[in-house]
């Protein structure tokens, strides 16, 4: 039983430092400066949102933090140690759920746990159940992925990302494909999970309201080359309601700044 308690205890969140990271993609037709000398610091247990229009390199940055991509220059430090590849301390939640269709819900959540040593199978199932409960899907543990709605899929993806008990959660527009009502529910869930599990969260979105609703800090990205233009602190108490007036005021301020930075090409911004 001790292993289980150990496993389920909230871990110390991770400090993420991004130092002078640049990244260029070369395709046949063009050279894209995805990131240009980007530096930022995300404190332990902090919830930071990266906001910018599509194609501004914010997802690239997230992938570099995850260790799935490498930077051309600069480096990412996790608690002071350079990131060299993917690691269980940094889990990613993708825009599409990226759940494995050949496994059912339970086996999807177990996938990462099975790769974690020092647990026996009974404990793994127990841990998986704990996280399925956390996202409210314990009744669906034997369901197939295609039987789930979009929102449920993302909940399973969240459970799967949380299951190995990472110290930072990297979220790449995870709610982009969901309807507004489902999204609002998930905003609530994410905030309560963040509160309960104390993780560092880096959340990428093009939705300014979403960023203000979730993040303690909102970083504004501009595209080509991808750069952090401005930083906003959101001092509203959690849990926040996306429809509240004060939130809308914050969002309007950021939206204005975003439009300023995007001129003259400001057509791609949502909301």
């Amino acid at each position: 039983m001790n292993a289980i308690h150990e496993e389920l205890r909230p871990v110390v969140p991770l400090k993420v430092e991004v130092e002078h990271v640049s990244k260029t993609f070369h395709s046949k037709r063009a050279v894209v400066h995805a990131l240009d000398d980007v530096s930022l610091m995300v404190g332990e247990g902090e919830f930071v949102c990266l906001v910018g229009p599509s194609g501004c390199g914010k997802s690239t940055l997230l992938n570099i933090i995850a260790g799935l991509d490498t930077a051309d220059s600069g480096c990412v430090l996790a608690d002071g140690k350079p990131v060299t590849g993917p690691g269980r301390d940094r889990m990613v939640m993708f825009q599409e759920s990226a759940l494995f269709p050949w496994l059912d819900v339970m086996d999807n959540v177990l996938f990462g746990l099975k790769l974690k040593p020092n647990l026996n199978n009974r404990e793994r199932v127990e841990v998986a159940n704990f996280y399925l409960q956390l996202v409210g899907l314990e009744k669906f543990h034997r369901a197939n992925i295609h039987e789930l709605s979009g929102g449920m899929k993302q909940r399973v993806a969240l459970a799967r990302a949380l299951a190995p008990n990472p110290r930072v959660l990297l979220m790449d527009e995870p709610f982009g494909a969901l309807d507004a009502l489902t999204r609002e529910q998930l905003y609530g869930d994410i905030q309560s999970i963040w509160e309960k599990r104390r993780k560092t969260i880096v959340f990428v979105t093009h939705n300014v309201r979403e960023a203000v609703c979730l993040g303690e800090r909102v970083l504004l990205f501009s595209p080509r080359p991808g750069r952090i233009e401005e930083e906003f602190r959101v001092d509203l108490p959690h849990p926040r309601d996306i429809n509240s007036v004060s939130l809308a005021e914050h969002a309007a301020k950021i939206m204005g700044a975003l439009k300023r930075h995007l001129q003259p090409a400001g057509s791609e911004v949502a909301e």
Binding site: N63, A66, G67, L68, G87, R88, G112, L115, H146, P164
Partner: protein, 254 residues
């Protein structure tokens, strides 16, 4: 249930019509033997064991050759999908040889292995391996990159990644390739058995061939029926469960 009854009635009337046409002398029994004589042959051949033996010989060749073909084709498909060098060499060979009906290998197989089981095995393997290889290659290439990335973040790499992510993700392709390989192998084996005599065992193809030599069309039709039956059973027993599983899990066509 109602559909089963309807279908049974339709088939029964077709057979009855066939019997009537032969009896009335409209169809010559030399050209088309009556269904009753076919049934008579089947009963005789089952009770004296010829049919069982022939079916056993054929099935043994088929299963051994097919299993080997899959065991060889699958890893080769992984190789061509993974390494450019294999893609440019083995991949091209596979693409070419897949278009070659494997019955065309019979002359060489006879030369190399003689009139033995090995020759038959070779023809069946050649029918199976390329389809499985190409389907596996195709399946691996069609695995959405996001699956690999997601697995990577959870700590999956190398062998684990291939066995637990890439292979299962390409399963729909692999299964359809295995089915195609089976069809090729089955047809080639039948053709080969009709075409050449193998001294180490007489299969269904030989039985059909002798039917032709003796002008025993009841025998020919009976063997054809057995061949159809085996094909249907293979589909129902071997492939249907897989396809059901895929439909169930992936949520593809009902």
């Amino acid at each position: 249930m109602k559909r089963v009854v309807t279908a049974a009635v339709v088939f029964a009337s077709l057979v009855a019509l066939w019997e009537t046409l032969v009896r009335a002398g409209i169809w010559s029994p030399v050209m088309v033997p009556s269904p009753l004589s076919v049934v008579e042959y089947i009963i005789g051949a089952i009770s004296d064991g010829t049919l069982w033996q022939a079916a056993l010989v054929t099935l043994r060749r088929l299963m051994a050759g097919y299993a080997l073909g899959v065991v060889v084709g699958l890893p080769l498909g992984l190789l061509t999908a993974r390494f450019k060098f294999c893609e440019d060499t083995l991949g091209v060979i596979a693409l070419g040889l897949q278009t070659l009906p494997s019955i065309c290998w019979v002359p060489l197989a006879m030369l190399w292995f003689g009139q033995t089981e090995a020759a038959m095995l070779f023809v069946v393997i050649m029918g199976t391996v390329w389809s499985v290889l190409i389907a596996t290659d195709n399946g691996v290439r069609n695995v959405p990159p996001i699956y690999k990335r997601a697995a990577q973040t959870m700590g999956s790499k190398w062998l684990h990644m291939w066995v637990r992510v890439i292979l299962p993700a390409s399963l729909p392709f692999v299964v359809s390739g295995m089915k195609q390989g089976w069809a090729f192998a089955w047809r080639s084996l039948m053709a080969a058995e009709v075409y050449v005599t193998i001294l180490t065992g007489f299969g269904l193809g030989h039985l059909l061939h002798y039917g032709r030599e003796l002008h025993a069309m009841d025998q020919v039709i009976a063997v054809m029926l057995v061949i159809i039956l085996i094909g249907l059973l293979a589909d129902k027993i071997v492939f249907s469960p897989w396809e059901k599983f895929l439909h169930h899990r992936w949520g593809t066509a009902k």
